[in-house]
């Protein structure tokens, strides 16, 4: 579904991505792990076009999207969420998700009709919110929501764009452990058609939910494999236990 070839990026002399080649087939749940500063978020920024790669190629569903801006990539189904909440504080979740749907359906340029007249869009927005158990709070302003609910809204906004590939940047960042398990259950329940790549530091969650794992270190991909392979690999142990991280 999503393939990158030879992605490079450096800031001055600092190389943050070196020859990144990954291939995500449809419907697979990938975890992207690695120590702090390994370049995980940078990779998401490169794939979604928030950062321009110095070299390399990104292909989504057979189409080369390397030259496209972030908006066009989203329209083609490559969508991300943010590690630090990036929401619309003074919109209600219902408004925010409806906004995303209106933009997707290209009715966002209509100024002579009320939003409420687009009943299908509103229904869909409400459906998305309910599926992430946000139905009860969807009329309150986003900034009034509990932190965990805001993390869910991050995902709801991404889902509203009908993604083919969903890149989740630490979806449970800052969420207490008991709740993060719930959050990942919600992620696990997402449609199996969606390819998911998520960054997560909690290894228990990673091993529970990912069908494949990519390990990044120092801007490069160290290895990729099934959870069992990763758990058994001595290099991963080295990085996580022997390195500065531990």
């Amino acid at each position: 579904m999503l393939t990158t070839r030879g992605l490079d990026k450096s800031f001055g002399s600092l190389v943050v991505a070196r020859d990144i080649a990954i291939s995500l087939p449809q419907g697979v749940r990938y975890a992207l792990i690695g120590p702090n500063g390994a370049g995980k978020t940078t990779l998401i920024n490169l794939m979604t076009g928030m950062l321009r790669a110095d070299g390399g190629q990104i292909v989504l569903g057979g189409e080369d999207i390397t030259a496209l801006g972030p908006e066009e990539r989203v329209r083609r189904g490559l969508v991300r969420t943010f590690q630090i909440n990036s929401l619309f504080p003074h919109l209600t979740p219902l408004e925010a998700v409806t906004l995303a749907i209106c933009e997707r359906e290209r009715i966002a340029r209509t100024w002579w009709k009320n939003t409420a007249d687009y009943r299908a869009a509103v229904d869909e927005a409400y459906g998305v919110l309910k599926s992430l158990s946000l139905g009860a709070v969807c009329y309150r302003q986003t900034h009034e929501l509990a932190y965990g609910q805001q993390r869910l809204l991050e995902i709801a906004l991404a889902l509203a764009t009908k993604p083919k590939v969903l890149l989740l940047d630490e979806p449970a960042a800052g969420v207490p452990r008991e709740e993060s398990s719930e959050l990942f259950t919600a992620i696990n329940n997402l449609s199996q058609d969606i390819t998911i790549l998520f960054i997560e530091h909690d290894m228990e969650l990673v091993f529970r939910l990912a069908s494949r794992i990519i390990v990044m270190v120092g801007g490069s991909i160290l290895l990729e494999g099934t959870p069992d392979e990763i758990a058994a690999d001595p290099r991963v142990r080295e990085v996580y236990l022997g390195g500065a991280h531990g």
Binding site: E71, F88, H90, L99, C102, W111, W112, A116, L157
Partner: protein, 346 residues
């Protein structure tokens, strides 16, 4: 800010309630008719307030809704004012077509300008709009063969409105005219803010980065609202010209851009009525204070501003809304903010 209502479960009902006319809105618009009866000597001031309110409304659409700051919005107000004045001076004194042409001219200028505006945000925008405003002011000043320069544009003669109502000395026609134009464009603005387009504008204001991440291009939206805002500002300027039958360089002045920003923030940005309430309070206060002390009337205005910003960071309307939507406020004033009875069966 949303008031709790019993039928919370249904999103359609919720959204429909959000956009329904409220009793307090009806009260507000009806009370704009009171000056005809209560203060007939102040109708000239009334039409100035209506013009300023419309100008503030135009700024609210870009600043309050889309988050685009402008310190040069008088450019469009003045452009509309001069356009309307010149049309009348050159022999076409029919007000309504003149108004339309002036609005279109200001809109065209706004459209061209929007290509620059949509590329910048925050401080850069302040500088650009400020510079653009000064540029236009000096252009009008130097082109005195066209604009009359510092002496103002002379010889603006308006025909009677609809061929029947002369613009009189007491401002009866002027107030009617300004009020109707304000109300019609307010309806447009209200519709815009309740539309999917208006929702996207608020999204841009709240988080432009996230807009990109949900696949939304902000620039076309910004260009569109900037053009609409310029039309409204131009119409406001044109109404001023037509009701006073003169144009001075003051319509393009930096002071006017600054005043309108102050008025909007005073009233409360992003609430449609903020600019209207701000215009009423500001102009009446100025009228009263300058009556008391013609020389230092900006002093009490300054005090008023500081008090409002210190105690009501969201403007007068923001403070009122907080009061009214509190639990006790709803008990006392709930009937005012309740939507009009108009249950639609569907």
């Amino acid at each position: 800010m949303a008031a709790a209502s019993p039928a919370l479960a249904d999103p359609h009902h919720y959204l429909a309630t959000q956009i329904r006319w409220r009793r307090i809105e009806v009260v507000f618009w009806l009370s704009t008719l009171l000056p005809f009866v209560l203060t007939p000597d102040y109708l000239v001031l009334g039409s100035q307030i209506a013009v300023t309110a419309l100008f503030a409304l135009s700024l609210d659409l870009i600043l309050g809704y889309a988050g685009i700051i402008s310190l040069g919005h008088a450019a469009f107000f003045g452009f509309g004012a001069y356009t309307a004045g010149l049309i009348a001076k050159w022999g076409w004194g029919e007000p309504i077509t003149g108004l339309a042409i002036a609005g279109a001219a200001a809109g065209l200028l706004g459209y061209l300008m929007s290509f620059v505006i949509s590329r910048f945000r925050h401080l850069a925008l302040i500088m650009i709009t400020l510079g653009f405003g000064l540029l236009l002011l000096e252009a009008a000043n130097s082109a005195s063969w066209l604009t009359g320069g510092a002496d103002g544009l002379q010889g603006v003669r308006m025909w009677p409105l609809l061929g029947a109502f002369k613009f009189d000395l007491w401002g009866v026609t002027a107030y009617w005219y300004a009020l109707i134009v304000l109300f019609l464009l307010f309806l447009v603005a209200r519709r815009i803010t309740n539309s999917p387009f208006g929702l996207s504008l608020r999204g841009i204001r709240e988080n432009a980065v996230r807009m990109r991440a949900i696949g939304a291009e902000s620039r076309p939206h910004i260009r569109k609202i900037y053009t609409i805002s310029a039309v409204m500002a131009g119409v406001a300027g044109a109404v001023l010209t037509q009701t006073t039958e003169t144009v001075s360089l003051g319509v393009l002045d930096f002071q006017r851009s600054a005043d309108i920003l102050v008025i909007l923030i005073l009233g409360g940005a992003g609430r449609l009525y903020g600019g209207l309430v701000g215009a009423i309070i500001y102009l009446i206060a100025r009228d009263q204070f300058s009556g008391i002390n013609p020389q230092y009337w900006y002093f009490p205005i300054g005090v008023l501003l500081i008090i409002v910003v210190l105690f009501l960071p969201n403007g007068i309307l923001g403070g009122l809304a907080q009061l009214i939507y509190s639990e006790r406020g709803q008990r006392w004033f709930g009937w005012l903010t309740a939507p009009l009875r108009r249950e639609r069966k569907s």
